[in-house]
């Protein structure tokens, strides 16, 4: 599902955000990326999501060669990926329902199908009763669940989450990670970046540890560095 071969990313003249990173994550696996702030977790996720291009190296995700993906193919690639951000990135000018429906509208689904899928996603994150609410009226945990519902509503093959528990208390964080584990159980490949080593190590999933733009260690099977 994800294959990086000696991938380096440099922003302008700054030092390398990622240096010669190689890793492989098989389809259907859920894995974590940990490391301190500035270790390169977000850069790694942005590269895998196709939001950045590698400076050097080979990057293949969900059947697309991202290091040489044409602008025309980018939308098609992104439709196979769900992204969850630490700051939720919700649209505050529209209700929860419309936020979650956005990827389906982009993909050209009909209204009845959109309604069915949005309600299923809301049900999954236990927010069915808040579909008409404005995001700003929700708690941080609820907003994050809306962000997750939006990321999975089109059933992407790959779910990427960048510090999805960053602003949440431990109980809510565990709840959110359990949600990712649920999606993984129904076949979604998931890669979750988190700086919370303790929380991550309590989960039975492979962990890749990043330090200064390099993968320093890994635990458990399913992901290779």
């Amino acid at each position: 599902m994800i294959l990086l071969q000696r991938v380096t990313k440099r922003f302008g003249s700054q030092s390398e955000a990622l240096s010669q990173v190689s890793l492989k994550i098989d389809p259907g696996v859920m894995a974590f990326v940990t490391g301190p702030s500035g270790a390169g977790k977000s850069t790694l996720l942005r590269l895998i999501a196709g939001l950045e291009r590698p400076t050097r190296g080979r990057l293949r995700v969900n059947g697309f060669d991202l290091d040489r993906l044409s602008a025309r193919d980018i939308p098609q690639f992104r439709r196979g990926v769900g992204l969850v951000f630490q700051d939720h990135r919700l649209l505050y000018d529209r209700p929860v329902y419309d936020n979650i429906a956005l990827p389906l509208e982009i993909m050209g689904y009909r209204r009845p199908e959109i309604r069915r899928r949005v309600r299923a996603a809301l049900d999954k994150v236990a927010l069915l009763h808040r579909e008409t609410a404005r995001p700003q009226t929700l708690s941080a945990g609820e907003q994050q669940r809306v962000g997750i519902a939006r990321a999975i509503v089109h059933r992407p093959a790959l779910l990427l989450a960048d510090e999805p528990t960053g602003n949440l208390d431990p109980a809510l964080s565990r709840e959110i990670l359990a949600l990712f584990a649920d999606f993984n159980r129904i076949g979604m490949t998931a890669l979750v970046a988190s700086h919370d080593q303790d929380l991550v190590e309590r989960m039975p999933h492979p962990v890749l540890h990043l330090e200064d733009g390099r993968i320093e260690a890994r635990t458990r099977q399913g992901a290779e560095a």
Binding site: A49, R79, L83, R89, L91, E105, I106, M107, Y109, R111
Partner: protein
């Protein structure tokens, strides 16, 4: 799923996507009514000016047609048989580019001349009639091409005859019309280009306001076509509003110009009523406005999307 059903589904999804974009774009405009009205008014003023000039030019053309100034070509021939002259006149009248021909035999010309003199006896000392036979030819149309063609025909038909035409004023008037039309085209072109730039800028700035939405939509796999769709509808709404506003201004301007124009015509003893622009002109102005709105939005949004992350 059969192919027909799949096609129907895709068409349905396409229609729904357009309806959503149209509805959202309208809602966005209604949320900021003052700004929307200002941009409609700007486009309206820009379009009303050339449209009003066009109405003036059209009226000038109609007014000049009102003035009795048919161009004529006189053919002076050696005096001969009056009946033969009438036959030639009838022959010429058969031509499509000739409206009518009056035959004036030399004898009648002399009588007419004599009638106009205070002392008709003055002409008695002449041994013979010095006046020629004349064919007074009125071309079917007063444009220089037709008059020129008729002149050529007459020169061919009557070699040796003297031709005198009084179509100079037609040439002058047509030259003025052409100049007016050219000035109108230049003014309309420049204003249209200005309007296009204003609309493109407005569309680009609106797209920048949607930056957050666009970033998130892009992450979810939105194409440029999807992202600019609401802007294109916005351009069409703005164009429609601006076009209708321009038509309103046009009729208002025509109503205000009517009384002084008709008074001026009356001062020249011309019975003239102002030609108001018909529904075709109004529709044309609205269509041009919609086209400008759409094109401006397409240019502006295309540019802004290329710049967006």
């Amino acid at each position: 799923m059969s192919r027909t059903r799949a096609l129907r589904e895709r068409l349905g999804a396409w229609r729904e996507a357009h309806a959503d974009a149209a509805r959202r774009s309208l809602a966005r405009r209604l949320q900021a009514p003052v700004m929307s009205l200002i941009s409609i008014a700007v486009l309206g003023f820009i379009l009303a000016l050339p449209a009003f000039l066009w109405v003036l030019l059209d009226n000038a053309r109609a007014l000049s047609a009102h003035v009795d100034h048919e161009p004529r070509v006189a053919v002076y021939l050696e005096a001969g048989d009056p009946e033969e002259l009438k036959d030639r006149a009838r022959e010429l009248e058969q031509r499509a580019d000739v409206a009518r021909v009056t035959a004036i035999p030399a004898e009648r010309a002399l009588e007419d001349y004599r009638a106009g003199l205070e002392d008709p006896g003055l002409l008695d000392w002449m041994d013979e009639n010095p006046l020629p036979d004349t064919l007074d030819v009125v071309p079917a149309r007063s444009d220089p091409d037709t008059v020129g063609r008729v002149e050529e025909t007459l020169a061919r038909e009557f070699p040796g005859a003297t031709l005198v035409s009084d179509d100079e004023w037609v040439r002058q008037l047509n030259a003025l019309h052409d100049l007016g039309a050219r000035i109108l085209a230049i003014v309309a072109g420049l204003l249209g280009l200005g309007a296009l730039l204003v609309l493109a800028l407005a569309s680009a700035s609106e797209l920048r306001e949607r930056r957050e939405e666009i970033t998130i939509a892009r992450i979810s796999g939105a194409t440029h076509r999807f992202l600019r769709r609401p802007s294109l509808y916005g351009g069409v709404y703005g164009g429609l509003g601006g076009g209708l506003f321009a038509v309103g201004l046009l009729y208002l301007g025509a109503a205000l110009a009517r009384e002084p124009l008709e008074s001026a015509a009356a001062a020249f003893e011309i019975d003239y009523a102002l030609h108001l622009p018909g529904p075709g002109v109004a529709l044309g102005v609205v269509l041009v406005a919609v086209l400008l709105g759409w094109t401006g939005a397409r240019l502006g949004s295309g540019h802004a999307l290329r710049d967006a992350p």
